[in-house]
Amino acid sequence: MFNPPQDRVIGKRVNFMATCLCDAIFDDAAKAAVEVLRHFGAEVVLPKDQTCCGQPAFNSGDFASARKVLKSAFRAFSENDWPIVVPSASCAAMLFHSSKIAFRNESESERAEVDAFASRVWEFCDYLKNCLGVEKIGGSFSARIAVHNSCHSRGTPTPEALRSLLLSIEGVELVEFEGYDDCCGFGGTFSVVMPNISSELGLAKVNAISAAAPDIITAPDTSCLLHQKGIADKNGIDYPVMHAAQIFRDALKNGGLL
C-alpha cells in the first residue's frame, strides 16, 4: 500500500531524520535509534536544517504547504546522497510515497527531485534489517511485548523487520491481541478534526491491547503511541509504551553490548 521505491539507495553512512515529534517530545526514541544504528556499524550524521516531513499539512489536504516543507527537507538533506533513516513509519511513508502525490502536478525536474529523495528514505527497522542486514539485535530484554504495526507500515517491509528483530532478543515474548492490524484512530490531524471517532477508536485499541496484559507496547512510530498513551492515561489505564528503537537499545545495554 505505502510501498517504498524499488531501488533504494543503500550504504552505511546515513543521515538521521529525527522527525518533528522526536525533536520536540520523544528525544529518547531518537537517541536510542542513533545508538542502535551506530552499534551496528552505521556512521550517522544529523543535518541541522531538518524540520518536519510536511505530513500534517499534506494529510489535511494543504498540498501547497506540504510541498514547501518537503522542499525545505530536500535542501536540508542535500549535502550528501546517502540514505536517510527515519524512526517513524508514517514520516517515512510521507517521504517515499506521499511526496510523489504532493508533487504530481509539478514540473518534471521537481518530480525527479522528489523521486531521487524518496529512494533514499528508509524507516528505521527496515533499514536495520534490510540495508544493514541485521538479523539479531542481541542482548536481552525480558518482557511480553505488544506490537502496534502503525498503519503507514502497511505494504512495507517494516512490520516483518520489527517483529523478527524483536524476536531475536532473548527474553522477548510477543503477545497477540484482537484487531492487531486495525487502526488506532490517530490519523495525524484526524485526531483533532474527528475527535470523537479518533478517541473511540483509540480507546478500543488501548482496551484490546491491555486485555492481552503486555509489559510494553511498542511501534515503529511515536505518533500512534502518543495518541494511545494519552487516551490510556486519561482513562487511568496503565500503558507503558516504548519506541522499537528504545527496546533494541535497552536490550543491547542489558546484554552489556552498549
Binding site: 500500500m1 518533528c20 525533536d23 520536540a24 517530545i25 520523544f26 528525544d27 537517541k31 542513533v34 544529523l46 541541522k48 536544517d49 531538518q50 524540520t51 518536519c52 510536511g54 500534517p56 499539512a57 499534506f58 494529510n59 489535511s60 489536504g61 494543504d62 504547504s65 506540504a66 514547501k68 516543507v69 522542499k71 525545505s72 536540508a76 502525490i101 498503519c151 503507514h152 502497511r154 505494504g155 486495525d182 487502526c183 484512530g185 490519523g187 495525524g188 490531524t189 484526524f190 485526531s191 483533532v192 478534526v193 474527528m194 475527535p195 470523537n196 471517532i197 479518533s198 478517541s199 473511540e200 477508536l201 483509540g202 480507546l203 498513551k229 494519552g230 487516551i231 492515561d233 486519561k234
Partner: protein
Amino acid sequence: MATQPIDDFCAKIKPSTKSAVGSASKETTAARKRIFEAAYPEAGKTDALRGIANAIKGQDLAANVRRAAESLERNGVKVLFAADAMEAKEQIAEIFKAEGVKNAVKVKSMTTEEIGLNSFLQSLGTDIVETDLGELIIQIEGEGPSHIVKPAMHRKRDDIAASFERHHVADSYDDNPQHITLNARKYLRKKFLAADAVITGANYVLAKEGAIALITNEGNARFSMAGAKIHIAIAGFEKVIPSAKELAVFLNLLARSATGQHSTVYTDFVSGPGSAKNSPQKMYFIFLDNGRSDILGSEFAEILKCMRCGACMNRCPVFRLISGHAYRATYPGPLGIVLSPLLAGERFCEYADLPKACTLCGACAEVCPAKIPLPDLVLKMRDLAKTKHCKVPNDINFAPFSFLATRPKLWRALVPLNRLANFLPLGAVKFGPLGRWLKTRTLPSFRGGLFRKWFKNG
C-alpha cells in the same frame, strides 16, 4: 466550536446501530479473508487477480460502452443514455406512462438509489416495491441504505420484526429470522405478481454479448422477470466490461469480497426481451452518466473501477464505528468519501468534509478487489476541497506551521522553547485543536531540542 457533522453523528449514534454495524462489518471482513485463503492458498494469487480486474476495468471504456450499446440494440434492447439523475428519472417515467405501468418491482440497485428513483416514481403515483429483503426492510421505514451490499446492516432483528408488524408485512411480531424472511416472501409474492414492470441495475454489462449480469442471493431478479412485461435496467456506464470472458475474473472476486461466499446463489444473464410469454416483452437499458464522464477525465478515474462489493467499508475503522448513514450520501465508506462529493457536481463543497472521515490507515486498499488506491484518492480529494476553497469544519490552518517548518534557524530556536509549555496549565485549554486533543487525551511532556543537544555532545 464549529460542529463536524460526521464526528457529531458518531457521538450520537444509537448503541444498537453501532453494535449491529460493528459486528456485521467485522464478521464480513473475516469471512472475506477466510474464503480468499481457501480459494487461493498460493501467496500472491488473490492479489494478482485483483490486479487483472483493475487492468480490465482500465481498458478503453468509451469504446466498450459503444460496443455494448450496439450489442444490446442488436438483441432487441432499447438503449438510452441519461446525462444526469433527472434525465434518467424522466426517461423511466416516460416509459411507465407510455406502457401504462402502475405497479413496479425493483431489484436492489445502488444506481437507482443514487438518482433517487423511488421517491420520484412514488410522487407520480406509481407503486414501486423493493424485492431484496434488506432493501424492503429499509423501504418500509422510509430509510436509505446504510451499506451498498447490506442496506439494512444498521438494523437489528427485533427492530425489523417490530417494523414488519407495524407496516403489515407480517401479521404479528415475530423475530425468528426464518419467519422474517417468510413473511417478506409472502408479502412480496403479491407484489411480484401485480407488477407491470421490473427495474434492475446491472452488476456487469457485457459489451460483446450485449447482455447484463445480475448477481443476487435471493433470486428476486429472476422472479421479477416472471411476472413483469417491461424490464428497465439502469447502470452507470462504468459497469461495462469487454465480454463474458472477462466476467470470470469478476465473478471470482465479487461475492468473495462482498459477502465471503465463493459465489452468490443466483447469477442471472439477461440478453434482451424474452421470447416466452411469461417474461418481459420489452427491455430498456439506460446508461447513466451523472458526473461519471467528468470523473473519467480526472485524476479520480480509478474510482470508476469500483465493483460495489462493500469490502472497503466493511474493513474501514471509521465506517464500522459510524455506520453508512453518517455519510449523508448514497455511497458510504472509503468508496463514498471519494465518489459522493464528485457525483455531487456543483454541490461538491457540501460533501467536502467526507474525505476527512478517514484515518488514512490503508486497510481498505488491501481488500479492494479492483485494487483502487483509495487512500491516495482520499488525499487528492482533500487537496481538491482545498483548491476549491470549500469550508470544512475543524480544518486547521497550516500557514503558521509551514512558515516555521521552512525556516530551519527559527525552528531550531523555537522548538526548545516548548519545554516552557510544561509549566503552563495547558490542561485548561478547551478550544481549538488542542482543546479537542485534551478532551480525551493527556499531553506528554515537551522535550524540545534535547535530542539535538545530545547528538552534538555525544
